[in-house]
């Protein structure tokens, strides 16, 4: 199916007990929403564990990838756990651009929040 014109939304889900924050992207995202995405990623970066959940994301392009890469880099530089969630509900374009650019091999990608949450935190002060 052609991606539907699903409603675009960006929501932050804070997980206080785990000092975590999940940024959920719904619908289609591209250059027209990338500034809002960067703001959301900045807000999430105060947490020790950041997840970007694309399991309800119909579409992303290379402009969004740029924001994801910046968020990942910022988190790893500060020794935070960072994960990208690509699930069954992720659109074909989401998987495609991650695969074409090879970013699915260099960024931690999980199929669910639960799987991502089971990963260990990087040791304090690491930069990788």
């Amino acid at each position: 199916m052609v991606p539907s014109m699903s409603t675009r939304a960006i929501s932050l889900v804070r997980q206080d007990a785990a000092d975590g924050c999940v940024v959920v992207l719904t619908g289609e995202h591209d250059l027209s929403s990338v500034d809002e995405l960067r703001d959301a990623f900045d807000q999430a970066s105060a947490a020790r564990s950041v997840m970007i959940d694309l399991s309800e994301t119909a579409f992303i392009d290379s402009a969004v990838l740029g924001a994801l890469i910046a968020s990942h880099r910022e988190a790893t530089e500060h020794g935070r756990r960072w994960a990208l969630i690509v699930g069954n509900g992720s659109g074909a374009a989401v998987r495609r651009i991650l695969e074409l650019t090879g970013l699915d091999a260099v960024m931690p990608v999980y199929s669910s929040r639960e799987e991502a949450a089971s990963q260990p935190f990087p040791p304090e002060g690491t930069t990788a």
Binding site: D61, S62, R96, I97
Partner: protein
Amino acid sequence: MNDEQVQLELSVPARAENIPLVRHAVAGFLDGHGIGGDPASDMLLAVTEACTNVVQHAYRDESVADAEIEVWAELADGTVTITVRDQGGGFAPRVDSPGLGLGLPVIAALTTTVEIRPTPPSGTEVVMTFAPGG
């Protein structure tokens, strides 16, 4: 082979908020001709990248009034051709590029053929074809 041609033509101001509008128009065109699934998804990603290039790079010369993205989509003999054109300053090296530089490689990977050419007296067009079966 069927030599019937069907076309979509649209022109929108070259602003980021119009990129989804172009994508949805092309999606509607493809859907109306029975093209869906991964092939359509690839075409929509490619057209989005081409439009992003226009918005980010084409109109750095502020003297260009009415900066627009022009898009044509055509289906002929099973091959979809999508052309994205601007009237901007053309391709030029840019040290302050806001993007990752992934747009054109992604387009090249998604298309059967892609041509990028100047459109005198000004502007650039990206002509992307998508043949059946890739």
